[in-house]
């Protein structure tokens, strides 16, 4: 096993988890359960690939991807806050629609047919993910907006009595969430050297959500949890094809590693105690 490759792989693999996990933080700290991180990333990847290819400008592609993800977040806000449907139901429906739309886009615009879109360097996103983490930590602890966001998530009814409008604060939180998921989606395109493939988000949005839960709904915690998951993913890549105690292990067993680690993490953490108390309530 090559330790340098392992660490480099970890840095790359952690970045989309950290970005999307922080997106989840901005939403869930305000009290909106955000299962649709996966859908937001998916729609961002496909739109980013399409616009990058069509305009030949990776910057424009990134912007369009972010816009698509922000739009999806805005629909999530509309459904959960204005129509007040169950947050998980809204998230699932958006995931299904986003994955379906990505398939339609792929077919209509011939995205996954071996052409590469121009893409930004991966390092940009790695840097942005750290900046976002520090920015959110500052936002959470040192600003009025952070206080309002946490108040809306802790007890929306009491927050309203204090003159805070949770519905507006949550919209702002979801906008942040959309931007970050958009970055996470665009990262996937960059990391694939501009080649779009159907289903390339591959459940990372859900793992990011697990990182958020495991990280105790704190920006620093999300960072640590993302890197922990990324470690297992990098390990999986390094271990493929190698024998364990002299037995040849099928590669599928290694594929399971990050998912099994997520379940183990959920089983070991007591999620509820650290969760925003008003999560899912209006």
């Amino acid at each position: 096993m090559n330790v340098a490759n392992l660490l480099l792989g970890m840095l790359i693999l952690a970045t989309p988890l950290l970005l999307a996990g922080l997106g989840g933080w901005a939403s869930e700290r305000g009290g909106v359960i955000h299962i649709a991180l996966e859908g937001a990333m998916t729609i961002a990847t496909v739109v980013c690939a399409w616009v990058s290819m069509a305009s030949d400008s990776p910057g424009l592609g990134l912007l369009a991807g972010i816009l698509a993800s922000v739009l999806l977040s805005a629909i999530h806000w509309l459904l959960t806050q204005v129509y007040r449907i169950d947050h998980v139901v809204s998230g699932m429906s958006l995931n299904a629609a986003a994955i379906g739309l990505a398939g339609v886009f792929d077919r209509v615009f011939h995205l996954s047919e071996g052409k590469a879109a121009p893409a930004l360097p991966v390092g940009v996103f790695v840097g942005l993910s750290w900046i976002a983490m520090l920015g959110f930590a500052f936002l959470s602890d040192r600003t009025k907006f952070g206080l309002y966001l946490r108040a809306s998530g802790a007890d929306p009814a009491k927050a309203r009595q204090l003159g805070i409008e949770p519905i507006r604060i949550r919209l702002a939180g979801l906008m942040f969430s959309g931007v970050l998921c958009g970055l996470a989606g665009a990262f996937l395109i960059s990391n694939a050297a501009g080649y779009y493939t159907d289903g390339m988000t591959a459940g990372r949005g859900y793992i990011a959500l697990a990182a958020l839960i495991l990280g105790g709904w704190k920006p620093r915690g999300v960072l640590l949890a993302s890197y922990a998951f990324a470690f297992f993913m990098a390990l999986q890549i390094q271990m493929q094809g190698s024998a364990l105690f002299g037995i040849q292990v099928p590669r599928e067993v290694w594929y399971c590693l990050p998912y099994a680690a997520t379940i183990a993490a959920l089983a070991l953490s007591k999620g509820k105690t650290q969760a925003p108390a008003g999560l899912g309530r209006s």
Partner: protein, 326 residues
């Protein structure tokens, strides 16, 4: 009435998706009707798709009554199907079918148990655990069917074919598996509506805290609901193997567990409505192959599913508000 409005809304939406994809809506509608109802074999195919959708829908419905979102039905279905195929190959005849069905139900229940446990006693959201277990189920069953359970005579990873004595019959276009699924769904609906256990389940679904004060062990009920739901999904896997596929292969589920969410959400609070909802999704699934020939991309059905779930949820919220008497 409102349900009908939703279905019509989705049809309009589908037409819009056609327009974007550049396919002709009328041509696609023809393809839809011909593909799902146009011939005896098309009808048989629709009923075949309806069977797992009905049972998995009932599984999701039951969990939903306890306030749990069992998105793991797909994984439970797949592990159940593998268990059924392995037992069915080992023991031929009706005894093997019975044993395989029991094994599939238990395997599905076992696969759902961590989801219920983490939700009830660890506070981790059931959706995340279930999605992780879906992935693990897909990888592990693929590894098993590519390795120890593989039929060496085949090119692709698949088990051997079950003998004729282990296959459930069909009467014309009506498969006997569908009858079993209907009976099981009726039993599940009866249990939810008429039994103490079902009452506790619904009480916990409405408010776990209130149920706790009424002397119901909410956590145990959540755990039980998840296990029973998983068992039903596993049973659906067994029926799929014994009545239809007669073997297990890699990528076994054509998304039945996910479409089952649509079935259960469309059915709302009524177990009886599971029937028409399953038929609707059965038509959609059966016709989707013909629709792809008519130029409609594969993802379109998912777009409809997503909109359907959101719109029906919005309607239900409106219903609830009107009942509160504004």
């Amino acid at each position: 009435m409102k349900r009908i409005a939703i279905v019509i809304g989705c049809a309009l939406l589908l037409a819009a998706v056609f327009a974007i994809a550049g396919a002709s809506p009328s041509g696609a509608f023809d393809a839809f009707v011909k593909g799902s109802l146009g011939s005896p074999s098309a009808i048989a195919g629709t009923l075949r798709e309806t069977t797992p959708l009905l049972l998995c829908g009932a599984a999701v419905f039951l969990a939903l009554q306890a306030g749990l979102f069992n998105i793991g039905a797909d994984g439970q279905f797949v592990v159940g199907a593998l268990a059924a195929a392995v037992i069915g190959l080992k023991f031929a005849g009706p005894a093997g079918v019975a044993l395989g069905t029991v094994a599939a139900t238990l395997t599905g229940a076992l696969w759902a148990a961590p989801v219920g446990w983490i939700k009830a006693y660890r506070g981790g959201h059931e959706v995340i655990t279930a999605i992780m277990l879906n992935n693990i189920a897909a990888f592990l069953t693929t590894a098993l069917v590519a390795g120890p359970f593989r039929d060496p005579g085949q090119q692709t990873p698949t088990t051997a074919l079950l003998g004729p004595s282990s296959q459930l019959p069909s009467w014309g276009p009506v498969p006997s598996g569908l009858l079993i699924a209907i009976l099981a769904t009726v039993a599940i609906g009866w249990w939810i509506r008429r039994s103490v256990g079902g009452f506790e389940l619904r009480a916990v679904g409405r408010s776990p805290r209130a149920a706790l004060f009424a002397g119901v062990d909410s956590k145990a009920v959540q755990m039980r609901a998840m296990i029973v739901s998983g068992g039903i999904a596993g049973l659906a896997g067994a029926i799929q193997v014994f009545a239809f596929s007669n073997r297990f292969y890699a990528d076994f589920s054509a998304g039945y567990g996910f479409n089952a969410l649509g079935v259960a959400l469309l059915a709302g609070q009524s177990p009886v409505a599971l029937g028409p909802a399953a038929i609707f999704f059965g038509l959609l699934t059966k016709a989707s192959a013909s629709l792809q020939f008519a130029g409609l991309p594969k993802g379109a059905a998912n777009v409809v599913l997503g909109c359907l779930i959101a719109i029906s949820a919005v309607y239900r919220y409106r219903d609830a508000r009107q009942r509160e008497g504004e």
